[in-house]
């Protein structure tokens, strides 16, 4: 039962939810990220996700720990992220949170996906009809890491 996983296999929300199976948990919220057919108005042909798997799974666990520190009523967290070539409409990520009651789950889920995009060691290459680009969520330096190397300024 792996709660945090980087995998080349297709993802299933049901399978991720099943990792949480605990009858005390009455409510599960999930976020499912699907490959969109366009970005900034350009048609996407497919995406390639690449990970540093050992560190990426640890940062997935870190996202889970952060969620449970901030919202102690969250009982369990599971996050699966797919890597490799993904076609439009395929699922790239599934996040599932469980709790006995509902009130805080929605904020916690929102936090989890935002934080995943910030810190998890996964990279995305967009392949359009007319070009490619490695995309980061923000385009800006990775939050929480040391100042970026700049060999030109030394």
């Amino acid at each position: 039962m792996t709660l945090f996983e980087i995998t080349p296999e297709p993802l299933s929300a049901d399978a991720v939810i099943a990792r949480l199976a605990d009858p005390a948990n009455g409510a599960v919220v999930t976020f499912v990220g699907v490959v969109r057919g366009e970005t900034d108005g350009r048609a996407v042909r497919y995406l390639e996700y690449e990970a540093y798997p050992e560190m990426a799974e640890e940062t997935l666990r870190q996202v889970g720990r952060e969620v449970q520190e901030r919202w102690p009523t969250i009982r369990e967290v599971a996050i699966h992220h797919r890597v490799g070539r993904l076609e439009v409409g395929e699922t790239a990520v599934v996040i599932a949170l469980s709790a006995a009651h509902r009130p805080e789950m929605f904020d916690a889920l929102h936090y989890a996906i935002d934080r995943l995009k910030e810190i998890v060691l996964i990279w995305k290459k967009e392949v359009w009809a007319d070009g490619i680009e490695w995309r980061s969520e923000s385009g800006s330096p990775m939050p929480g890491s040391f100042p970026y190397l700049d060999t030109e300024s030394h």
């Binding site: 995943l116 996964i122 980061s136 969520e137 970026y148 190397l149």
Partner: protein, 87 residues
Amino acid sequence: MTGNAEISVRVKFFAAPREAVGAGQLERTVPAGTTVEELIRCLTEEYPILRAYTRFLSVAVNRAYVGMQTELHDGDEVACLPPVGGG
């Protein structure tokens, strides 16, 4: 740097810089006491195309983020990490 002793490190690249270098992993032998910054500067001389990426890279040694002045040790895994884009 201490001079004659040498260490071997494994350097990992991902995403755009991996494609620029043309390899996901390199083995390099450097003088003991070499810092992250010095290693990256050597690699940039070897692969000038890396210059376009270095200002965006973070570095992890043995899977933990480190500062530029961190000294490397024999057997270290040095990962050059561009801004992430999961989700």
